[in-house]
């Protein structure tokens, strides 16, 4: 199957270095301390934040910083073939652990000693790039909750198909297992890499290209996220001024 046509279009009509339609919105839930919903193409994720609050589990209290409790789940109907469980499988647990580490390095954890922040991200529809969507949604929800962070964390996937790099890989493209899949998350201002995960084989010679493309994708996503956060703050300010 041609993933990129000779005319330079991917199966869904995008060019190789274009991201999918990216939409996001902050404050979608009323009871959570912070929440955000985002769509990267047909991948849809909802993130909610509770806290910082007093740590529930005594064993997890840390005296110098906040404990981050990250939960990743996928709605049973989110994938094309129905899943049996939304969470608790090995992969979700693995991702939750990974995500906890990622956000620990961006949240200013020492501001809230002895407390806990709950981050819960749920994938409502999965069409590739689930981890990326998860990271982006969680970042926005943290913004909504007003949790101080070093920077945004923006994430994007990239792959190498017939020596061409493509970014923001969707599910039908991901299904070609032999192509490498890089999930990347960066702090956009410093361009520091905070997550770099590779599936399948890629020779080190091509790492630079694929990394470059991935970073570009992250920065494109950052532009949109940043704009949305500013909008949200402006709207909130307008409401406050009006009352």
């Amino acid at each position: 199957m041609e993933i990129i046509s000779p005319e330079g279009l991917r199966i869904d009509g995008r060019r190789p270095e274009e991201i999918r339609r990216f939409n996001c919105r902050l404050g979608v839930l009323s009871r959570a301390d912070g929440s955000a919903y985002l769509e990267q193409g047909n991948t849809k994720a909802l993130a909610s934040i509770n806290g910082p609050h007093q740590a529930g589990d005594k064993a997890k209290i840390k005296h110098d910083r906040v404990h981050i409790n990250f939960q990743y789940s996928m709605a049973t109907f989110s994938t094309n073939e129905r899943r049996n469980r939304p969470k608790g499988d090995k992969r979700s647990i693995d991702i939750s652990q990974l995500m906890r580490e990622i956000f620990q390095s961006a949240i200013l954890t020492d501001l809230y000693p002895k407390s806990q922040i709950d981050i819960h991200v749920q994938i409502l529809q999965a069409d590739g790039g689930n981890y990326s969507a998860c990271i982006n949604a969680a970042t926005l929800a943290l913004m909504d909750a007003g949790v101080p962070m070093k920077d945004f964390i923006c994430s994007c996937t990239a792959s190498l198909v017939d020596s061409k790099t493509i970014i923001d890989v969707n599910n039908s493209e991901e299904l070609h297992f032999s192509n490498p899949l890089l999930t990347l998350a960066i702090l956009p201002t410093s361009e520091e890499i905070i997550l770099c995960q590779m599936k399948s084989r890629l020779h080190a010679d091509h790492l630079e290209d694929i990394l470059k493309a991935g970073i570009k994708g992250c920065k494109d996503i950052y532009e949109i996220m940043h704009r949305e956060v500013l909008n949200h703050v402006r709207e909130a300010a307008a409401v406050m001024n009006a009352t």
Binding site: D12, S163, R201
Partner: protein, 931 residues
């Protein structure tokens, strides 16, 4: 803008799953017209001022938009030089791809040719031309509508941008045409369009016709099952899928090869073959056991005359005679009949037009050079120009009521019997790409004078001080290997094999790389070679000629005096060969005891080591097999064959061979170690025991018992097999053994388990090709892998992917097989030219005995041919076939396998099909033969 595509598909578990995919619509899909003010024209190819064809219908400049059916059926016309400036819609290409992969490849090639000015318009992703499927609209209707919408958009777009160019939709579909006319689109059928081209009347012949059924014709063949039924039936195991292989000997018989099954399914009679043509993927229904039969053993060719239409209505003349003859249910083969076609694998065929007695006839029968292909009916107005010529014809369809498939004329090659023409025929028939290298390929060549830069020198080991020499056949200009030997102080030897560093010049992904990969191998014909890489590389920069600096990839061992490998290393190097010897020259030096210079000493040591290596190999069970190899001494002016030369074998041949084998094995081990998943290796599967049946049977006739359980046992028992009265017997046996072997093939290491890597013939657990990168693409890949393993080169993605490497292997295997066939055909073509004006008596041996013919090998000329046992008036002689003793008996004459016979070799001239070599039996004399 965003649309989503939703479809439901079956899962592997038999369930269904709803799949939703995004579908983006863009506003940056450009029209591709040069000078368009509203589009980005950097990639534009369509020239609005063009007037490429003279046409009565479309006098103005115009662009054509062919629909799917036109592309699929009339690809030959679209490939014609005079057809330019066409727009191909994404919808059309997607449908074509789905319908026929080979047509898709051809149209993609045409689009890639900048001369053609073909443009692809991604209408499915264009905001204004994307349409959604309506309620109650079939997918086909939706696509037809999409094509009309896109054509309409183009029409408007041209007007909006003040172009005078017309848009012409080409469709053969009546309904589609009607609707297009309603939409005010200029629409023609392909027939109308081509008819109106005043300056290219010859295109008419290339039109693929529409074949309406003649009512008068009786139904000849059973109807095919629909594809959907076939698929479910195959899944349920009621039908079997396989590839149809027509018998070379009898056009009324064939086999269906089922993937993964050792036993082919036998198909008897035209009724059961049911319009399947060589290589078609078919669905077969097995016959009940009591109806199973086996090949008749007869050699049968289809009628040679151009039969009139009445003959068609007569139905299929199933040979009742042979059926009555015997009752051979005893060892019947699993038999079946073709009930459906899964995929046609038709290609353009070379062949000749059969003359039609009616002088005004326009319908002719065409006979393909490949005798497994049935006659093809074509319509032509220029028969007088085509008779006596080699032509190419494509098949369009095979109607149920037709005895033969219908096709159309594609191209004329030249007169029958002409050396050039016949050579081209055999190249085309074996799918050998033989065109001149394109400019893009030549652009990738280094410029002359080529010099070694300091950078190059830095990255390479300088081995110019070594005494390196090469040994090749006389006249060889593509020298890809050279050797050296240095005695070490510890009593061991340092031996180096230096291989031309082709991968230095051919970088992955370049035009020259793609071309070389496609060619796969250099093809050696009797009078010329078809190079894999341009001559500048093959005969100059990569050729390790003497006394010039050349880049090499060196494999250097430390060998003990017993030829045990102590250590091995690989390096990219610069070498300077001291001498380029022929085998004979090298042999002379070795034998000349007076010579004691460096070269002579090292050659002698190499020779000793090679003999040690050879002995080791034979001890492990490597086979040494015979196949008569002959070469023609060709007149340098006329290229006519002057003399037949049998290839002589000297010690030095074996010297070079042993070290090349050692290099290949050492490299294979190395790349497998570094790239266990994606190393390109070569294996030679051990043949299934059933392959040896004919060999054992033949040997048993002469009371010789052969052991075939392992390569070692086979080679031992072969060595002992000798007959007092037949000095050539052993060689004949070895020839038969080669016929029992499997093909050696390239494969990707990740696709098989290690124990399957073994090379049966060479008796080595792992093997690859490293030593001839100038003439084999596989070696280039191996060079790249090896270079990466020593850090001298970089990877690229396709090299690291198991499936891509395997894909390449399959392609190379195909090319190698075809190159071999082409080589053989070329030799027999030259044999024919050689015997054209002489009649020779020669002794031959019977290799195989058939029911009505014997197959005779003439060792002197390497000719193998069938002799039909016919009397002078053409009737068959009542020979009695003894299957057990493999003999034919008539009166007091007995012909048995391995028998020596005396034959007359002559070239038989035939008006229709040109000349061919014909053997006549002189001894033993059958009275009625000797006319």
């Amino acid at each position: 803008m965003l649309k989503s595509r939703t479809f439901v598909k079956k899962t592997r578990k038999g369930g269904v799953v709803k799949v939703v995919q995004e579908h983006y619509l863009r506003d940056d899909v450009w029209c591709g017209v040069i000078g368009c003010s509203s589009c980005n024209t950097t990639q534009a190819v369509l020239d609005p001022q063009c007037l490429n064809v003279q046409s009565n219908l479309c006098p103005k400049s115009h662009f054509i938009i062919p629909d799917t059916n036109v592309v699929c059926k009339q690809i030959d016309i679209l490939e014609e030089n005079c057809i330019k400036h066409a727009i191909f819609l994404q919808t059309v290409l997607q449908e074509v791809k789905h319908l026929s992969a080979s047509t898709y490849r051809r149209i993609r090639d045409a689009i890639a040719n900048p001369e053609k000015k073909f443009y692809v318009f991604s209408n499915e992703h264009h905001k204004k031309t994307y349409i959604e499927r309506g309620k109650d609209e079939s997918p086909n209707d939706r696509n037809d509508r999409a094509i009309r919408v896109a054509a309409k958009w183009y029409q408007k777009h041209m007007q909006d941008n003040c172009f005078q160019t017309d848009i012409v939709l080409l469709t053969n579909d009546v309904e589609n045409k009607e609707k297009a006319v309603q939409d005010n689109l200029t629409t023609y059928t392909m027939y109308e369009y081509v008819m109106a081209l005043t300056d290219s009347p010859e295109l008419m012949d290339k039109l693929s016709g529409d074949f309406e059924d003649d009512e008068k014709n009786q139904i000849v063949f059973a109807e095919y099952l629909p594809l959907s039924k076939i698929q479910s039936a195959i899944k349920a195991g009621r039908l079997i899928q396989g590839t149809f292989q027509s018998s070379r000997d009898n056009y009324k018989e064939g086999f269906v090869r089922v993937h993964g099954e050792e036993q082919d399914i036998f198909i008897k009679d035209l009724d059961s073959i049911n319009r399947a043509i060589q290589d078609d993927v078919v669905a077969v229904e097995m016959l009940p056991k009591q109806e199973w039969t086996k090949p008749s053993g007869l050699v049968c060719r289809d009628v040679e005359n151009n039969e009139n239409d009445n003959a068609e209505t007569a139905g299929l003349e199933n040979t009742a005679r042979e059926e009555k003859l015997e009752n051979y249910i005893a060892d019947a083969l699993p038999s079946g009949k073709v009930v459906g076609i899964i995929k046609r694998n038709w290609r353009p065929y070379c062949g000749i037009l059969l003359p039609n007695p009616n002088p005004n006839a326009r319908r002719f029968l065409f006979r393909a050079a490949d005798r497994r292909i049935p006659r093809i009916r074509i319509l032509t107005r220029q028969s007088s120009n085509l008779l006596g010529q080699r032509i190419i014809v494509s098949v369009d369809a095979w109607q149920r009521k037709r005895r033969y498939p219908e096709g159309h004329f594609v191209r004329r090659l030249g007169p029958i019997g002409d050396k050039e023409t016949e050579s081209e025929v055999l190249l085309i028939e074996h799918n050998v790409p033989y065109q001149q290298f394109s400019q893009a390929v030549l652009n990738d060549l280094p410029t002359l004078p080529w010099e070694i830069t300091d950078d190059d020198a830095k990255q390479r080991e300088d081995l110019r001080h070594l005494t390196i020499c090469s040994i090749d056949p006389p006249g060889c200009t593509d020298i890809d290997d050279a050797l050296h030997l240095t005695a070490l102080e510890n009593g061991n030897y340092e031996v180096g094999v230096h291989i031309a560093d082709v991968s230095h010049f051919i970088r992955p992904g370049t035009a020259i790389d793609i071309e070389a990969a496609n060619r796969g191998t250099t093809v050696y014909l009797a009078e010329k070679r078809i190079d894999m890489v341009p001559e500048l590389l093959s005969s100059n920069l990569c050729s390790l000629r003497s006394n010039v600096d050349r880049f090499a990839f060196s494999c250097i061992w430390e060998l003990s005096p017993d030829a045990d490998v102590i250590a091995a290393r690989f390096t990219k190097s610069i070498i300077k060969s001291q001498a380029a010897f022929t085998y004979a020259e090298a042999q002379l030096i070795i034998d000349d005891k007076q010579r004691n210079d460096d070269i002579a000493i090292s050659l002698r040591s190499l020779n000793v080591l090679a003999q040690a290596l050879n002995k080791k190999r034979l001890d492990q069970g490597a086979l040494s097999l015979a196949s008569p190899e002959i070469r023609f001494q060709v007149d340098s002016e006329t290229h006519d064959p002057l003399e037949l030369v049998k290839k002589e074998l000297r010690e030095t041949n074996s010297l070079v061979e042993e070290f090349m084998l050692l290099a290949n094995i050492t490299v294979a081990e190395r790349i497998y170690e570094i790239f266990p998943q994606c190393a390109l290796l070569r294996r030679h599967p051990s043949p299934p025991l059933s392959n040896f049946d004919i060999l054992l049977k033949s040997a048993a006739v002469k009371n010789i018992q052969l052991q075939v359980d392992s390569a070692k046992m086979l080679s031992t028992s072969l060595a002992q097999a000798d007959l007092q009265d037949n000095p050539y017997f052993n060689t004949l046996l070895r020839i038969l053994v080669t016929r029992c072997m499997m093909q050696a093939v390239y494969f990707c290491s990740g696709t098989l388990a290690y124990q399957d890597y073994c090379h049966y013939g060479l008796a080595t657990p792992i093997y690859t090709h490293f030593t001839s990168p100038i003439r084999r693409y596989s070696d280039i890949i191996v060079h790249r892998l090896l270079a990466i393993s020593i850090g001298a080169d970089k990877t690229y993605p396709d090299l690291m992917k198991k499936d891509k490497v395997q894909e390449l292997c399959n392609h190379l295997n195909f090319r190698h097989k075809m190159a071999q066939y082409a080589q053989r055909s070329s030799v027999s073509l030259y044999a024919q030219l050689f015997f054209r004006n002489r009649v020779t008596k020669e002794e031959g041996y019977i290799l195989f005995v058939r029911k009505n013919a014997i197959q005779v090998l003439i060792p002197k000329y390497g000719i193998e041919n069938t002799i039909f046992l016919r009397s002078a008036d053409g009737s068959e002689l009542p020979f009695i076939h003894d299957e057990q003793n493999l003999s034919l008996t008539y009166q007091d004459i007995t012909l048995q396998v391995f028998d020596r016979v005396l034959v007359e070799i002559a070239v038989e001239h035939n008006e229709i099909q040109g000349s061919k070599i014909r053997l006549q039996l002189l001894e033993p004399q059958v009275c009625s033969f000797s006319v």
